[in-house]
Symmetry: C2
Subunit: 363 residues, 2 copies
């Protein structure tokens, strides 16, 4: 161990540093780090950011100082100076809906260790509401945007076109757009279930939706479901769209309504698992035998589809994986500083296929 003689100046600064460490109420700034390590502020900045033109000694000194002072960068100041913040804005309809929680967890996973934070915006369904929330969020100069769905208002489209940074739309890949999309085709999902019903020999088929078909995605599934049936010579017997948001009880109630008019249905496709589970419970209460008297199918692939008797037929969606890939795309674009082209996106999309695919379960 080597003793060092400190100059008075160094001592002064050292003492200052110690004081800073001990009783500074406010968080240490770059200025403090610079003073402590006796370099200019900008040098401290460069060193801490790991830029090229910094001597190893200076870097070491600064890093030691930052460490000693417990310095952490103020992202707000950095964001003001630079063009964008370290925040990723994520816009989803709501959390209590069984699809977006997993997506959000996935986004986190995909974004992990990038230093990017997630600002969550709840749009409550409805693209006008989405527009309002987005306008608000844009004020944060986000580093990236994750939206749900591919239907937006014209004003939203304009804002997105103007936005300079990665944009990923999740859970719907049917829209016509130049933007990155990660998710599944709801048109395909609708067809998938129609084909399944037909293969099972069902001919008298019904449909139940909710919330006036807000999230537009459910409407896409219904439309393509109906079209695929029709293409095979089967006309949908009846449908009921409940005005309220999806839930188990709304499913049960909707079942009552639909059965009122069409008591002889062989199978019903639901906009999601919650509705289907509620209806199934109702049907069991009525003494119906499932699937012999009537078959039920939902959408999403919730775990609980496997705990009801009989198991609920559903379409599993790779929600976590979708979020994960979305996060990775944002992170990657952020890191490299440039938007990826379609080719690159396709490569990333391949990863997704390995993680999980949209598929039937309990069929």
């Amino acid at each position: 161990m080597r003793m060092t003689t400190l100059s008075t100046d160094e001592i002064r600064i050292f003492v200052l540093g110690e004081l800073l460490v001990r009783k500074m109420q406010k968080r240490p700034t770059l200025k403090d780090v610079a003073a402590y390590s006796q370099v200019s502020i900008i040098s401290a900045s460069r060193a801490l950011r790991g830029l090229e033109n910094v001597s190893p000694e200076l870097r070491a000194k600064v890093e030691a100082a930052a460490d000693a002072l417990g310095y952490s960068r103020n992202p707000i100041a950095g964001s003001l100076r630079g063009q964008s913040s370290d925040l990723v804005v994520v816009l989803v309809p709501a959390m209590t809906n069984n699809v977006f929680p997993a997506v959000v967890d996935g986004i986190y996973a995909g974004l992990s260790q990038t230093g990017l934070g997630v600002v969550l915006g709840l749009t409550g369904y409805g693209i006008e509401s989405e527009e309002r929330v987005l306008r608000n969020m844009l004020a944060w100069s986000p580093a990236g945007l994750v939206l749900s769905g591919s239907e937006h208002t014209d004003d939203t489209e304009a804002m997105l076109a103007e936005f300079d940074g990665p944009i990923v739309e999740v859970m719907d890949i049917d829209g016509e757009t130049e933007r990155s999309q990660v998710g599944l085709s709801h048109l395909e999902a609708g067809r998938m279930m129609a084909d399944h019903f037909l293969k099972c020999g069902y001919r008298r088929i019904g449909y139940i939706g909710a919330w006036g078909e807000q999230p537009l995605r459910s409407r896409k599934r219904r439309i393509s479901f109906e079209e695929e049936l029709r293409r095979n010579g089967v006309e949908l017997v009846g449908r009921f769209i409940h005005p309220d948001p999806s839930s188990v009880s709304v499913g049960a109630e909707s079942f009552d309504r639909l059965i009122e008019e069409h008591s002889d249905l062989e199978a019903i496709f639901f906009a999601n698992d919650d509705l289907a589970l509620g209806a199934m419970s109702n049907a069991l209460d009525r003494g119906l035998s499932i699937p012999d008297d009537m078959a039920f199918a939902g959408f999403n692939g919730l775990d609980v589809c496997d705990v009801v008797r009989p198991h609920l037929t559903t379409i599993v969606t790779p929600r976590f994986e979708v979020g994960c890939l979305a996060g990775k795309i944002i992170a990657d674009t952020f890191r490299t500083g440039e938007n990826k082209g379609p080719q690159q996106r396709r490569e990333l999309a391949l990863e997704l296929r390995q993680g999980g695919t949209t598929r039937l379960r309990n069929a």
Copy 2:
């Protein structure tokens, strides 16, 4: 309609304004609004913020300008100047867990129309992870903090003590703290279920948990559950804590394990509904009659408890309402600029009782 003669200067500014409206790539700043309305920047700021000392004419002029230019405040700049941002940091373990999505929706509801944004931090269970995430988030100088649970590391406690703004802990009110807490007593919940089991006449009782009892809240429930049983002369026959996170399948697997050793249990209390549902499904597969052969009880009060046969006994928790109240407390403190004392908090807490209470369902 009155024609006005514009001075050359006014024309110049007017034209500048028009240009700004039309082809400005960057978002208009306060400076642009000030130029457009021909007042000083600070006056524009004051007018827009609705401060007192502003003449109606000036205010009108500025508001018109802001409207014409499509101005919206840059919260980043404001945050840098002031001490805190307009962001509320919300720290929860994970979204895919059936309790926090509702809480987050509630927080949004409680925060609505305050202009406060929500930065979501996922701590993935474990208070060390929480500490790390919090340290990171604190860099955003949040306007408020919402944490889940009341157990924290010492360093977290230190950060919280230093934090100058409202802090609310949600979903657990058992901890010893000076901070605002909104949620439920897990000790009470455990007792509640023990009493219910005893009232039903069950004596050979088991318990199943998961994730090594991470979120500590589940452990509290178990402990008080066991204690209440013991207080009534009943000793817990057996328990199994699965190392993996809760899920339907983990519940089913844990059931296997517990039954291996104790096949003659009369009733099992689970750390949550997911585990219970999985186990119930398993038990049905084994040909057990529920609840005659064996009774099951979960925790949370998920909707799906009502769609399984027989309905799953559970404890309903007011998750949305808890989040809502937490949001309101933050919003209120933010608006008035001062932390409320315990008295005030108790008043706010009364609201909660009206919204929803922790109670037994399907008992």
